[in-house]
Subunit: 426 residues, 2 copies
Amino acid sequence: MDVLSSAPARRIRHRPLAHAPLAHAPLAHAPLAHAPLAHAPLAHAPLRRAPLRPATSRDTSARAPERLPGAPLRIAMLAPPWISVPAAGYGGVESVVHTLTDALVRRGHEVTLFCAPGSVSEADVVTLLDRSHPDEIERSLYEVDHVSQAFDRIDAAVEGSRFDVIHDHCGFVGLAMANRIDTPLVHTLHGPFTADTAAFYARHRDKATLVGISRAQLMSAPPELGVIDSIPNPIDLRAWPLQERKGDYLLWIGRMTPEKGPHRAIAAARAVDVPLVLAGVIQPGQQAFFDREVAPHIDGDRVRFVGEVTGSAKHSLFAGARGLLMPIRWDEPFGMVMVEALACGTPVIAFPEGAAREIVIDGKTGFLVDDERAMVDAVGLLQRIDARDCRAWVSEHCDVESVAAAYEQTYLSVAVQGVERALAGV
Amino acid sequence: MDVLSSAPARRIRHRPLAHAPLAHAPLAHAPLAHAPLAHAPLAHAPLRRAPLRPATSRDTSARAPERLPGAPLRIAMLAPPWISVPAAGYGGVESVVHTLTDALVRRGHEVTLFCAPGSVSEADVVTLLDRSHPDEIERSLYEVDHVSQAFDRIDAAVEGSRFDVIHDHCGFVGLAMANRIDTPLVHTLHGPFTADTAAFYARHRDKATLVGISRAQLMSAPPELGVIDSIPNPIDLRAWPLQERKGDYLLWIGRMTPEKGPHRAIAAARAVDVPLVLAGVIQPGQQAFFDREVAPHIDGDRVRFVGEVTGSAKHSLFAGARGLLMPIRWDEPFGMVMVEALACGTPVIAFPEGAAREIVIDGKTGFLVDDERAMVDAVGLLQRIDARDCRAWVSEHCDVESVAAAYEQTYLSVAVQGVERALAGV
């Protein structure tokens, strides 16, 4: 069921540009004027919805140069204002931004990271608000303050230091206003489509280039969105050790919600009589569910709860587990914990929801199971999975160098379109 | 203590224009090119913080024409997306927008009202979202979707139907992005200044023309905001009957929060042994306070709770009361219920917080008292207040015709600045 690698990448953007005519900014960036030729090999055969494709260095280098030597891009990376980069604990988007940004800097690009105070990055860090707002996510006061200030800074960049592209990870303001700034904008779709976000994206998608994070996510996109590439969330494999000899416990990690299924993980682990470690933070509003469905089962032995884990403790916890249980019941657009487990050689047993169908290759990187009973059976089969196969899959699909290379192609494509439009005097 | 009428209006905007160069839109609107001369008499002597001035027709007509005959303005009225206009019950901003918009239409202007679905107005109504969002106020998804679509429609208005001005009542998106649209924007400050909103306004105030709603509100503005006019919230006096013979009850109306003081109103009314009617909606999060501090005192006789009142029932309730109790403990930027009570000839007994200090003229339209004990004493003095004086004060300061005339001057001023800048080729 390896849908991820079932089709090669087509990184084509027939972007219906709603941007105001680009004035002169891209022209000042001469190296970009060479890009169209280098990019040409990819310029054909758009897929309706390009599946999450293997974007390894090996793979892309066979078709196009990974990036243009001598042509570093000036990238405005727009992180959310809610949580500092990288998030110490929970903070999926912030982790993605951190990993990608540092890789882009290593690859020679000039990256300015607009982000919450307290952030740490190899890029030039610019914070625009007085404090972070972890408990006020999506409050328009902060989101628009952050994004509009970033836009103003991007506009103020003078000749010779103009940005080639904005990579926007921040809610909704950036995309909805992307037709009001000359610098082209790439917006990564980090969340699932709901009725309201689908309507929003259908209305504003022409203002920028959208990128999804999984095929499952894009399958639920409204048809008006047309062709959208997906680029998986990145992982820096250097931080996640491969461990072939496993401990004697199963792992569940996530938010304490019914959709994430800690109670189902407990039921499965008890049935197969393997110890279970539960990790994760109890967020506001989740205490009642935790108290009712999880806490009564915690005995410090067969079912343990270790709270939020970070850093090397988190790596060890993932690396030592016999398997990661993902009894989820929602259309999860990615599922970074699965990638982190696989990176350590830890197989994943997941319900076939959302991107789990793409990340769990049944019999290869774990098992896709329909319910708790089948999950119990699959635990008995975990020894058939080769830890090295798990890591190899991550290396091929989600390694940050591959992901950075894929985004570079996207950046070049939108920057080149800007140049072409400017040359055409549109 | 009539601070409201202590200084005449100076409707001067030395607006530090951060707008992108205006292209040709204002020039297409020829009548505006006559405005500077007509506007000249007001063009002097800016006050540091202009107090809420009496802006009656009588008053302004003595100094400048109320509006330019034959020069209707094209106004984009930007209401919030949360609640339909006018709000059936609670919805202060929506009521203000409704009253002002209809008056502007009556005065001959071409007004397009961008607002939540279900709105009713004499203006051209344009709804941009699929539904209203009364329980998701300030969620960026909806606010930016609404505002960016409105901006796009405003930009798309073709030659001959271009807007002269945007009047923005909607949160934060419009102001923060006002430098990214050619049409000048007037933003009414509807809320109190907090540390975070003060920082926001200090950062973005140069992008548009700000208007406050009371001197008390502007006193707490950060100094970076400079000179800001205040124009009171409007009331359509035709809807509020003057009633000189009062019933035998006191009235409290508001949200069920400690700051609004229903428990203090109860204590005062009980002490003076006059029946009290409590009106208002119990919003999410207020039930516990209501159950603890209010409900135990409700006896259906000396203390009655009538819930949310609307329409003619609301008018009657205000008109029949001996007095309105406002034992508030917060820096309320306006306080529409005080104006509504006074319009009916009902005096107000208020703690000296926020705009209560401007609306309650001690001994004339009610009494300013420091605590519940003084409130008790003041109830005994209510018969000294002449109902006609209460209404006259409202008529002089808050009547919608006066308020509309004041906003017209603001609109003309910013539109004229746009024309002048366009003529100067800036």
